[in-house]
Amino acid sequence: MKIELEEKRPGVFVVTLAGDMDMSTSPEVRKSMAPLFRPGTTQVIIALAGVTYIDSSGIATFVEGLQLSQKTTARLTLAGMNAAVEAVFELAYLREVFHIVPTVEAALGDGA
């Protein structure tokens, strides 16, 4: 899995993922995402347009991210997921639990 991290403006991070999120790749995402939930961070945006598959280990990674965000002032936003990935969130009854937006631009606008 390809992971790119960018601080778009102070305290606002975009993590761009590409590839399949399964048991083998989810740990890397967890390692990249977890440290961002620290004092000073206001938003962590996960760009998911390049994610081609997600399973329960991927979902668990984002649930952990949500739990971390709830302990801090940082908001977790999932941006740009395709229909197949969104269907897995729905199957897990988690579609309404996360802040999900169509694009990273929409997420950045939300955080303005």
Binding site: S24, Y53, S56, A60, V63, A84, V88, A92
Partner: protein, 143 residues
């Protein structure tokens, strides 16, 4: 399409190879006429089943063996996932409360959502055998 003998896939218990299993499930189920939603759910189900084997039957050890067999019958696709590790307890098959937002515990739910029948057996020579069945779409008969 139907086959007289199964397609056999013998993989190491390494999550890095599960993408190959997903690709095979995708292509085979597409060829058998399943809808795109059914294909996606079956890929997820088999992936989750293999992940469970790696985690629970083998304790995350990557050098063990998983044998996956695909039986293409006229009315159903039957997939066997055979491991030679720790036999699962009945507790492992109890569904969890999905209203709780917490990581973990979704694999079994995804397996049941992707397949029409889910059977777990304990072979005499040890390990476990998960039998997953999906009924095939049948052509409509015009009368």
């Amino acid at each position: 399409m139907q086959l007289d003998s199964p397609i056999l896939v013998d993989i190491p218990s390494n999550p890095a190879v599960l993408f190959l299993v997903r690709a095979l499930v995708k292509r085979l189920s597409e060829r058998l006429g399943f809808s795109s939603e059914q294909v996606e759910r079956m890929m997820l189900a088999i992936d989750e089943a293999c992940t469970n084997v790696i985690r629970h039957a083998y304790g995350n050890r990557t050098g063990e063996r998983i044998v996956i067999s695909f039986y293409v019958h006229p009315r159903q696709l039957e997939i066997h996932i055979r491991d030679f590790g720790q036999t699962a307890s009945p507790e492992a098959f109890k569904p969890r409360d999905l209203s709780q937002v917490r990581p973990g515990g979704l694999g079994l739910h995804f397996i049941r959502e992707g397949m029409d029948e889910v059977h777990y057996e304990t072979p005499e020579d040890g390990g476990g055998l998960l039998r997953l069945i999906r009924y095939r779409p049948q052509p409509r008969v015009l009368t």
